[in-house]
Chain length 114, copies 2
DNA sequence: CTTAATACATAGACAAGCTAAATATAAAGG
DNA sequence: CCTTTATATTTAGCTTGTCTATGTATTAAG
């Protein structure tokens, strides 16, 4: 089972990130884990793709990130926890519709066998 | 109904071109027409995207292009007519499978409502 | 002879995802 | 202590596909 190529993902990654955050706020690594888990081994997302996507989404007001309280008893550096804004929630709904349209259009062209 | 953005298309365009050629050989403009027709107004493909894609596909041995015989009584310059190679046909089949997997994975992440 | 229609070509911009490496923090282990 | 290990974020630079915009070529029509 070949991996999903980066180019195929392009333009859809932000939708995936928004989707991952519907399950509740999460920091970058956690988002990565959620997506790879749901992606069943074929979706391999890289930090170098995710973090810039998070910055874009935050800049666009779709998500809001805050540094986690430092007093957590765990290994590792501070984490930035993101949550969906209401704008992001609306964007996600719209993005789902657009994706559906994209799939429908592709399907029409590739034939019903697809 | 918003158009399908270029980024959403990225990585899927070559599959679309292969698909268009299943209906028989065609020159660039004809491919464009076939795709836009099947794309129902939401898929707006540009020459600047299509022709490079054709060159890539030909270089990869997926399609074969030949200059049309000049004695055609019609307006316009010579046309380069492309047809699927057997390699291209196999590639198309594989690409359909990959697209299906992509859609399935996206669907799993976006939720069944998608 | 000009205009319109058709078709191909391509330079350059742009953007998103990838590679790879650096940095930071703190628990765990000896 | 000091090193190792695990966790998490950051970013520079590369690659590549699509788009914008423009240019060229050819022939029918007026």
């Amino acid at each position: 089972m070949p991996d999903i190529r980066g180019d195929a993902l392009r333009g859809h990654l932000e939708t995936l990130v928004l989707s991952a955050l519907r399950r509740g706020e999460a920091h970058g690594f956690e988002i990565l884990r959620r997506l790879e888990e749901a992606g069943s081994q074929v979706l391999k997302l890289k930090e170098g793709s995710l973090y810039p996507a998070l910055y874009r989404l935050e800049a666009a007001g779709m998500i809001k990130g805050e540094w986690e309280d430092g007093a957590t008893a765990r290994r590792g550096p501070r984490r930035r926890v993101y949550r969906l804004t209401s704008k992001g929630r609306r964007r996600f709904t719209a993005a789902c519709g657009e994706f559906q349209q994209f799939v429908a259009t592709m399907g029409r062209i590739l034939g019903t066998a697809v």
